[in-house]
């Protein structure tokens, strides 16, 4: 038996990095960038503060690393949709994806929301530009659907804002929801909320909900 690592082992560095990232996500999500404390992140990760700074040069670089991970979550099947696809299926799937992110990556959603509310001071121009281009592309597809008679006349921007606003709400306002309902939302609640939302958005667009999303 050899003591050297094989490909499946994780080095202690990799383990600590992921510990730190997880701890930092919680801390940033519940206090914002300026409000987050490096010492608190270290405590959550069960490491001395100095060790956190050993893996991540600074609080800022740690935050940017997290932000980069979050951006990757934003990708979805909607990105490649074209006028030839069925709007009902594409939108229903997109809503499902967004709701799933709210459920399984609540802290990421919160950090993103905080970033935007604060005026996106840490999102670089590259991301903003990329995001604008993505939006322009999606708006174009929606407009083509309308022109092709596959979707009723509607404002594509508001349509997307409605999807974002509703699905984000379940992550960002989870505290309020828990308070008001008396308990936090479980897997089943999320499934119901997703179906509810798909029905709302699709009906609002005069679309029929595909059987597989009912």
């Amino acid at each position: 038996m050899t003591t050297s690592r094989n490909e499946k082992d994780v080095t202690i560095g990799e383990l600590n990095r992921s510990k730190i990232l997880r701890a930092a996500e919680e801390e940033f999500a519940s206090h914002g960038y300026k409000g987050a404390r490096v010492q608190q992140i270290a405590d959550r990760a069960g490491l001395p503060k100095t060790n956190v700074l050993y893996y991540f040069k600074s609080k800022e670089s740690l935050y940017l690393a997290i932000l980069e991970n979050i951006m990757r979550l934003w990708n979805s099947r909607f990105d490649e949709a074209t006028v030839h696809d069925d709007p009902a299926r594409v939108l229903a799937q997109y809503i499902t994806d967004k709701m799933e992110i709210s459920r399984s990556h609540g802290n990421s959603s919160k950090i993103f929301a905080l970033e935007i509310i604060n005026g996106a001071p840490n999102l670089n121009d590259f991301f903003k530009d990329q995001h604008s281009k993505w939006m322009a592309g999606r708006v174009a597809v929606i407009n083509e659907w309308i022109k092709a008679g596959k979707l009723k006349q509607t404002n594509p921007y508001y349509l997307l804002y409605n999807i974002w606003g509703t699905s984000q709400h379940y992550a960002d306002f989870s505290t309020q929801i828990t308070e008001l309902q008396g308990s936090s939302m479980g897997q089943q609640d999320f499934e119901n909320a997703t179906k509810n939302l798909i029905h709302l958005i699709l009906t609002g667009c005069d679309l029929t909900v595909p059987a597989e999303f009912r």
Copy 2:
């Protein structure tokens, strides 16, 4: 001519207080509670920092004063609705009110959102309790509407979350919206978005949009 103030005059104290509150709203909205700097609030208000602390004992008491103002905004005509009212009109009006708050009190909406995302650390139990009771009352009315056949079977919680999520989005994500649309939303845009949202929510509930909200 007398130099003493008559009833219409505002004392210098009242003027400064409102200057400070306005400045603090901006600062808290764009940096959160922990991230906000008293010095920065003073600069925005055009006053020395010591003067800010003269009017408000501490950063916390200033924040709480703002939070109290915000809570007053949350009142709406929906609060007194009963089963005898028309759900279509009540909901359309409620959506209109919410959208108007997003338009005219964007910073307040943002501060509220930040507070909730961070787990509502500064909202006292009295408010939470009051809010829960309000929610229970509204849920009851919606359920009565359903029982009376005035509204189709639907989950009252999700209905309200959908209204909140969508309307808040226009305030909280204003930065993103401006970025994506190339310009910020004006009065007319808000009116269109409001009509769009009323149509969406009401159609989703099988309700007809009342003529005065079209």
